[in-house]
């Protein structure tokens, strides 16, 4: 049997997004947004949209691939894939699923996309309008434990307690995202810088999360094109090669009513070793990281579980200067991410990771060769991936 790996076999050949909007402000429907992003990604790759033969998404995206294929007039549809799980945990996994399809010969050109117009549907951060609940929700909703922030605050509270981590560590993550958004004209928070004082004065959403620890909710769409490494070289001068990807979660992570044996986790303790094993690199080789911010505490835990520092070092490492492009020790969320660019469920983070490899970020890290994405901390399954330049494959 050949070595079972995706390393170097596929690449992201094009990326695209719509304009990003505050939630409820998109002037067109969610489906139109999806089409716009896909066509933008094709244009970026220099690819005829009729070459697409597969789709991958996550988090129960509402935009059916068969309808998209019909709208685009595709000659044929060969691959249609939905990654299970909620939140942004599938962001990297959807890319990996597309990559596996291409590497395995199921399709030649797979679009990974995510479209969200929360103003046209139910918002993630508001309680659904129901009179009764059962199952897991019956154990939580009657106690006012309803929203994602409320679902994850207790995990982070426990983690901060176990490791004596100060609030300034979460604050640094928020400030880094806002700092990078000021250089990014696409960012919803472009032109709206955040200071440490404003962070400290911001209201609690749910302790230990202040307003700026929580992601935005937005309208928009993002897409990227996954093809074989050989084909990518013909399409783009600098494709971003997939070095590795992994998804999953720990033993009984989804045990009901907050009974995961390992409770204070971002769900990556078993996933990250698989990622590094496939990529053939270690944390010290990673030049730049995009780490999904549902909440800053989840980023903190994700970075620890991917081996960038230990929990005991978090107070010392998580200071703003360390997290900034171009020269910080660990440049983080260089487009502004979910906090300040756009909450496109983390697919904007994959696009940014590819732009870093292409040298096209608005907060470019010098000589970025290895670029990581961490998707959806604290949910299950989570996923992460590593992209590399031509020099790494």
């Amino acid at each position: 049997m050949k070595a079972r790996t995706l390393r170097g076999r596929v690449a992201i050949a094009g990326v695209g997004e719509t304009a990003y909007y505050k939630h409820g402000r998109a002037p067109v429907s969610e489906f139109q947004l999806a089409l716009q992003a896909i066509l933008a990604a094709c244009a970026d790759a220099g690819l005829d949209p009729r070459a697409i033969d597969g789709f991958a998404s996550y988090s129960n995206d509402r935009n059916d691939p068969s309808r998209i294929a019909a709208a685009l007039g595709l000659p044929e549809l060969r691959f249609s894939n939905m990654q299970w799980g909620g939140g942004g945990g599938g962001g990297s996994a959807a890319v990996a699923n597309a990559a596996a399809a291409v590497a395995g010969g199921l399709a030649d050109c797979v679009v990974v996309f995510r479209a969200l117009a929360q103003g046209q549907f139910q918002r993630f951060g508001a309680a659904p309008p129901v009179a009764t609940v059962s199952g897991e929700q019956a154990m939580t909703f009657p106690y006012g434990l309803i929203s994602p922030a409320q679902r994850f605050a207790m995990r982070v509270m426990r983690y901060l307690h176990e490791h004596d981590i100060r609030p300034e560590a979460q604050r640094a993550i928020a400030l880094a995202s806002y700092h990078h958004a000021q250089a990014n004209p696409r960012a919803v928070m472009h032109g709206r810088p955040l200071t440490a004082e404003a962070y400290d004065a911001s209201r609690w959403i749910v302790e230990p999360f202040r307003l700026y620890d929580c992601c935005m909710e937005n309208d928009g769409a993002a897409a990227l094109i996954v093809v074989s490494a050989e084909r990518a070289r013909d399409l783009r001068p600098r494709p971003a090669y997939l070095l590795g990807a992994a998804q999953g979660s720990e033993h009984r992570n989804a045990a009901r009513a907050h009974n995961a044996p390992l409770y204070a986790t971002s769900s990556f303790t078993t996933v990250a070793p698989h990622l590094y094993a496939m990529a053939g690199v270690g944390p010290g080789d990673v030049d730049v990281v995009q780490s999904y911010e549902n909440f800053t505490g989840g980023v903190l835990m994700s970075l620890v579980e991917h081996g960038f520092f230990t929990a005991k070092e978090a107070n010392d490492v998580l200071v703003v200067d360390n997290l900034l492009a171009p020269k910080g020790r660990l440049p983080l969320n260089t487009s502004g991410g979910n906090l300040a660019e756009c909450y496109m469920h983390g697919l904007e983070l994959v696009i940014e990771a590819a732009r870093q490899i292409r040298g096209e970020s608005t907060s470019q890290v010098e000589d970025a060769e290895v670029s990581m994405v961490i998707s959806g901390p604290m949910v299950t399954p989570v996923s992460s991936l590593i992209l590399g330049s031509a020099a790494t494959v």
């Binding site: 609940v133 929700q137 909703f141 006012g144 426990r158 749910v206």
Partner: protein, 148 residues
Amino acid sequence: MAPAASYLPAGLPAPVPEPDGLDAPYWAGTRRGELLVQRCERCRAWQWGPEWICHACLSPEVGWTRVDGRGIIYTWERAWHPVHPALREHGPYIVVLVELAHAGGIRMLGNLLGDPRQVVTIGAPVEAVFEPHDDAKVPFTLVQWKVI
């Protein structure tokens, strides 16, 4: 002023047993003021929340056992932002996750009764308090916690 009948205001979604009956013994137990959790009849492993088979030995013979409603605060949160219309004018409230060491370390959720602005200490001992909602369309009882 008489203490409020419930910790949180009326109007939040009401719990109902799952249609397949999995957690019905738990909800029936709370109506009687009893805390019931699962314990495998074959390997004696504790299990919470409920599931159809034992996660340790995969036996379908997962029984229900009454446990003492005492534990320690494993973690907590204080929610300020109202995500449901019923909470809009309410102010902060506390949710705790309570570990029951005498029941295999299973954890149970609830609100922490008392001052919503109180200092909360991880590791503090708490005991269960049953909060009946007799006027609900389908009457139910919540398990809450108070520091002892």
